[in-house]
């Protein structure tokens, strides 16, 4: 973050600014008296302005469907654009109940689509929802989806037509999954925009989707964006949760994400610069080796 607007004699910089390289967090901002100097203050205002704009950005469903249809690995994969009962962004913000419900015309369209497909049941259904950041799904959804579809179909899972929903919330996928006859539904949704990450996507996995489920029935993979969880990491976690949910026939708090367990030795010493090597023998630490 540039401090160009701040004159050194008026603003105290922090002698630990070298730490900025290790986190996108707004650390070592310096002091004007006890307060925030002008430059970081205005940087913050700019970020907030961008996040506000992201909330009101409308999902570009045309580009999304065109890209899906043109993709050589996915060509011919059926997809359909649907809408929630919330007519616009402001209604969407104030009425989550409407965002959780399909618009009547969309429900009919989905039922028609279902009627025209050969299968009565699918192992997995993907639902792409704008949520609070349409740009997040515009940029993050398809790369994860493509890899996931490839791996799932290769492993023998049947996957339903893809649905794209505007002004939707997570739970709208319960209705979609139920209508499609999906054993499990994956929602890809724009998370609430943060100042540093206005385009972050989350994924929710729900076994046996039906209307009226709440959060304890779901597993979540969050923070999928350029500086967070990568597309391949997200796909890895997603495949693990989908296959575990199918194996155990459940999702939610009884299904823990243990994908990292192979690489994390929980009781191994934590290497970080704040702790000197010798301190790992401290009295409160459990025995190692």
């Amino acid at each position: 973050m540039s401090n160009a607007a701040d004159t050194p004699s008026l603003v105290a910089s922090n002698p630990w600014s070298t730490l900025k390289q290790f986190t996108p967090a707004r650390i070592a901002l310096g002091l004007a008296g006890s307060s925030l100097p002008t430059a970081p203050q205005l940087e913050f205002q700019l970020a907030h302005a961008r996040a506000r704009d992201a909330v009101y950005h409308e999902l570009d469903t045309n580009t999304l469907t065109t890209t899906l249809r043109r993709d050589e690995r996915l060509s011919g994969w059926p997809c359909v654009v649907l809408h929630s009962a919330a007519a616009d962004r402001l209604t969407y913000l104030k009425r989550p109940d409407q965002g959780r419900t399909l618009h009547t015309a969309s429900r009919d369209a989905l039922l028609r689509l279902k009627k025209n497909t050969a299968r009565t049941q699918f192992d997995v259904a993907f639902v792409i929802v704008d949520g609070l950041s349409a740009r997040a799904v515009e940029t993050q959804a398809l790369p994860v989806l493509k890899n996931s579809l490839e791996r799932l179909t290769h492993a023998g899972f049947t996957v339903a037509p893809i649905t794209i929903i505007t002004h939707g919330r997570v739970a709208i996928a319960d209705e979609v999954g139920e209508l499609l006859g999906a054993k499990l539904v994956v929602v890809m949704i724009g998370e609430r925009p943060g100042l540093s990450t206005p385009h972050s996507m989350g994924m929710y996995i729900t076994w046996d989707p039906k209307r009226g489920l709440t959060d304890e029935s779901r597993n979540c993979i969050s923070n999928i964006h350029a500086d967070g969880l990568s597309h391949s990491q997200a796909e890895e976690k997603l495949y693990y949760l989908i296959s575990q949910a199918h194996r155990r026939r459940l999702s939610g708090i009884d299904l823990k994400d243990e994908t990292d367990i192979r690489v994390i030795d929980a009781l191994a010493p934590n290497k970080n610069f704040l702790v000197s090597e010798s301190s790992h023998d401290s009295a409160s630490a459990p025995p190692e080796h």
Partner: protein, 463 residues
């Protein structure tokens, strides 16, 4: 069933039941509109407030907003009610309870003595007929002191939770934010990480990392990784050095079920943390978070307004003797608290109800980017809460939580409040800040902006 009604001139107002009059008396907010429980118009709201004001406090012991038979939170409230503590106010109406709270008779000692006699519904009803200045005035007189490795809640103190979140739980990234916070004087309430993953091995790793840091720098504070209570229990079994057990709680049994918890599970978790005997000056081992709207968002409000649901969550918290209770007021979004005005009032209501019931209340003064709020609104709430004697606020680098994607208070914000009102950190932590050279040892709380030797050594390890 008692009749809830009031006449203004020729207009006769009748309310269906206790929860109806409570909901309609609530100052306007989007969540109650969403739930369909709010007043039809402004006059009906005041009529409901007048109805409430005339109700004897004993009403809330005889009529429940959610039936005793079907809700364990109601049973906790009724069965756990302390009649001796209630005795001195048992003859008052809600309206006169407000008068009494504002009077000089209601001093700190008197308020402490009757805290266990106040049910959530009594506190909520009273708050609904109070203005912001009333909420501040009464909260300021309440005293609640809790301890683990330091002492939280003493007069003239304002603590901070150091919240060093990182989008991928990267240990170096978390450590960088911890350094920033400590050197800005933050972290006495707790060093508390919201992990991006609920993976038990990852949680265990962060817990132990925080303990290593607290141990290495001899910091008189406590750590917490804010993951589901079942994950913390598994981490404890796996040998994690857990100081505080965290859990989000709500005010109805159904909402708590949607969180995957009940009172039995919280009892087990508290016992597991107590068995580790890690507190040095006290054994308050629980850290709870709440927030208006959580019951409704789980479709589990059962016709009760969101502020009353919130106060009922404090009955759950009170049962488990927490070190910290944090109302995360603006996190839930504009469908529950639409704008700065609604967030500000809700934060002060929550702080008041919690303090009155004897809880160590802090507030995550915050908003999301889809709410009609900004930094100016947070400054107003911060200034009011600091005046009201709020126990602790969050300390997030630059007020921007890069993991949870919302804005809270910054280390700078805490410095502002401390300087404006002459507030200091928890005494043990204050002494530590002075001893390592982060803050001056004399006069008002002031940073030195120097890099203490021990931290300078740590930074040299990076090169």
């Amino acid at each position: 069933m008692p009749l809830y009604q009031h006449t203004i001139g020729t207009q006769h107002y009748v309310f269906k039941d206790l929860k109806d009059v409570m909901a309609k008396a609530t100052p306007a907010r989007s969540g109650d509109d969403l739930a369909g429980v709010s007043a039809d118009d402004a006059e009906q709201r005041v009529a409901a407030q007048m109805t409430l004001a005339d109700l004897p406090l004993t009403t809330f012991l005889n009529d429940c907003v959610i039936p005793y038979e079907s809700d364990e939170v109601t049973r906790l409230i009724i069965d756990g009610h302390d009649r001796d503590a209630f005795q001195s106010i048992s003859h008052l109406t809600v309206g006169d309870f407000r008068n009494w709270l504002l009077s000089d008779q209601a001093n700190t000692a008197a308020l402490s003595k009757m805290a266990a006699g106040i049910t959530p519904e009594m506190a909520a009803a009273t708050s609904k007929i109070m203005r912001i200045q009333d909420l501040v005035t009464v909260s300021k007189k309440c005293s609640v002191v809790t301890q683990f490795r330091n002492t939280i809640g003493l007069p003239g103190r304002l603590a901070t939770r150091l919240q060093p979140n990182h989008p991928t739980d990267d240990p170096t990234g978390i450590a960088a934010s911890i350094v920033d916070g400590l050197l800005y004087g933050a972290g006495d309430a707790v060093i508390g990480v919201n992990p991006a993953s609920d993976n038990v091995a990852r949680v265990t790793q962060i817990v132990n990392m925080l303990d290593d840091i607290i141990h290495e720098y001899q910091i008189p504070t406590q750590s917490c990784v804010l993951t589901h209570v079942t994950s913390t229990l598994m981490a404890i079994e796996a040998g994690a050095r857990v100081d505080l057990v965290f859990q989000s709680i709500a005010g109805t049994e159904a909402a708590n079920r949607s969180f995957g918890i009940n009172c039995q599970l919280l009892t087990e978790a508290r016992e597991a943390a107590l068995s580790l005997k890690r507190g040095t000056v006290g054994q308050h081992v629980m850290y709870f978070e709440t927030g208006q709207g959580s019951a409704l968002s789980a479709q589990a409000n059962q016709g009760v307004d969101q502020q009353t649901c919130e106060a009922r969550a404090y009955a759950v918290a009170r049962q488990f003797k927490p070190l910290l209770v944090n109302t995360v007021v603006g996190f839930i979004g504009p469908e529950y608290l639409f704008n700065g005005k609604q967030i500000i009032r809700a934060g002060l209501e929550d702080h008041f109800c919690g303090k009155l019931m004897g809880l160590p209340m802090g507030c995550d003064i915050c908003y999301t980017n889809h709410a009609e709020a900004d930094q100016d609104d947070m400054d107003v709430l911060l200034t009011l809460l600091a005046n009201a004697g709020c126990h602790f606020i969050m300390g997030v680098p630059g007020a921007d939580d890069i993991m949870l994607n919302y804005q809270s208070t910054s280390f700078h914000d805490a410095l502002y409040a401390r300087r404006l009102l002459g507030l200091k950190p928890a005494p043990e932590f204050e002494a530590w800040l002075a001893s390592v050279g982060i803050a001056s040892s004399q006069g008002p709380f002031q940073l030195t902006n120097q890099l203490p030797t021990h931290f300078a050594q740590a930074l040299r390890r990076l090169t």
